[in-house]
């Protein structure tokens, strides 16, 4: 435990939450990516029109599947949160800034995709919605990083 950790007990709890949520999000995005790559059968979809969303032109950006972008994003958030949980990095402003900016970008990107589903494609994919909820929760979980950006840098 560093001095800063003792001053702010339980501070990394939000990063623990981010690590768990980003791991869940990773598997949701990985499933969609596997489907997009033709590795799974017809998408398992209790409600909504995943097939419509997945086969739409918006399922790829510049040839890259949106689900692959999601996988990369969740991996980045997971790695950052795990790094930020290590005793020497708990007060790192760099990690706080990266977590906050990453989750903000993620939630904004997800909001855009949700808008496309609602207004343009007019079909819902439950896995995309699940991912949107996960990234929103991650965003809120990273808000406690804001005070850390202003705190004195600890051992990084």
């Amino acid at each position: 435990m560093t001095e800063v950790d003792e001053v702010v007990p339980g501070a990394p709890l939000n990063r623990m939450l981010v690590s768990v949520l980003s791991l869940i999000g990773f598997f949701v995005a990985l499933y969609l990516w596997a489907h997009n790559a033709g590795l799974t059968g017809p998408i398992i979809c209790g409600v909504g029109d995943c097939a419509t969303v997945q086969s739409s032109e918006y399922a790829r950006i510049g040839g890259v599947p949106v689900s692959a972008i999601g996988v990369a994003g969740y991996v980045a958030l997971f790695v950052l949160s795990m790094m930020g949980l290590q005793p020497g990095r708990r007060s790192s402003r760099a990690i706080a800034a990266l977590l906050l900016s990453g989750s903000t970008f993620g939630v904004a990107f997800s909001a855009y995709l949700t808008y496309l589903e609602a207004a343009v494609i007019q079909a819902w994919c439950q896995y995309c919605v699940a991912s949107a909820i996960i990234i929103t929760l991650i965003f809120f979980a990273t808000l406690p990083e804001i005070p850390r950006l202003r705190s004195p840098e600890g051992a990084a």
Binding site: S19, F27, T40, G41, P42
Partner: protein, 230 residues
């Protein structure tokens, strides 16, 4: 931190299991949804790419066209109750030819695109129509199956097809471009549901809303009347 690691391990095990299961029980590389096909926005190119499956005398002046979905119950009704009579009375007699275009409603029928490809894979071995009829007869069995690839392969074996060649075809993206093009052609022609039955003669198509056998027979024979002297 120990509790966190345990939680992460549980999430990882469940996640790996779920994704592995979906891949293992899925259709491998079998393409089950429309793919990107260049040129579909060009009508001339679209007409080249889209390919119906024809039955009957290719020189018959009247063409009965169906835009169908193998997973659609109404198409099953047409295929099992109406089409056999149409074949006997109009196709085998040379009065008309029948052309089937795939129009899988993928939003509602998750196995329909794969079924359309499966039929065409059987067509590679000259068994399209046998397979087509078999799919409609057994629709209730495979429609909601999570192992449609396995069931379709079994049907191929039942019909005496080369199982390896069929499996290889189905497990790829073969015919996905044609099925995708057929879907786009249907959209361009105003198809909004299945079965859509169109009777065409001399380049003049007519959408037949009442596709019962008597209506179809009457309409086709009316079209032929001037030529046959009836």
């Amino acid at each position: 931190m120990k509790k966190l690691y345990i939680t992460l391990a549980v999430v990882a095990v469940v996640g790996i299991g779920a994704v592995s299961y979906s891949i293992g029980s899925g259709s491998g590389g079998a393409v089950s949804a429309p793919i990107a096909v260049e040129g579909l926005d060009d009508m001339n190119r679209l007409v080249e790419l889209a390919q119906g499956m024809t039955k009957g005398d290719p020189n018959a002046t009247v063409t009965i066209i169906e835009f169908g979905d193998f997973q659609c119950p109404a198409c099953q009704q047409f295929a099992t109750a109406v089409k056999p009579q149409v074949e006997l009375a109009l196709i085998e007699s040379g009065k008309a030819k029948f052309v089937y275009y795939d129009w899988p409603i993928i939003e509602a029928h998750p196995n329909a695109f794969l079924a359309a490809r499966a039929a065409r894979c059987a067509g590679d071995q000259q068994k399209y129509w046998e397979y087509h009829d078999n799919l409609f007869r057994n629709q209730a069995r495979w429609a909601t199956s999570t192992d449609a690839v396995g069931m379709f392969t079994d049907y191929a074996a039942t019909l005496g097809l080369d199982e390896g060649a069929f499996e290889s075809c189905l497990g790829s993206d073969r015919h996905a471009d044609v099925v995708t093009a057929n879907m786009e052609l249907g959209l361009q022609l105003g198809v909004r549901g299945t079965p859509t039955i169109i009777v065409e003669q001399g380049g003049v198509p007519r959408n037949i809303l009442n596709w019962d056998f008597e209506s179809l027979r009457t309409y086709v024979e009316e079209l032929l009347a001037p030529n046959t002297g009836a």
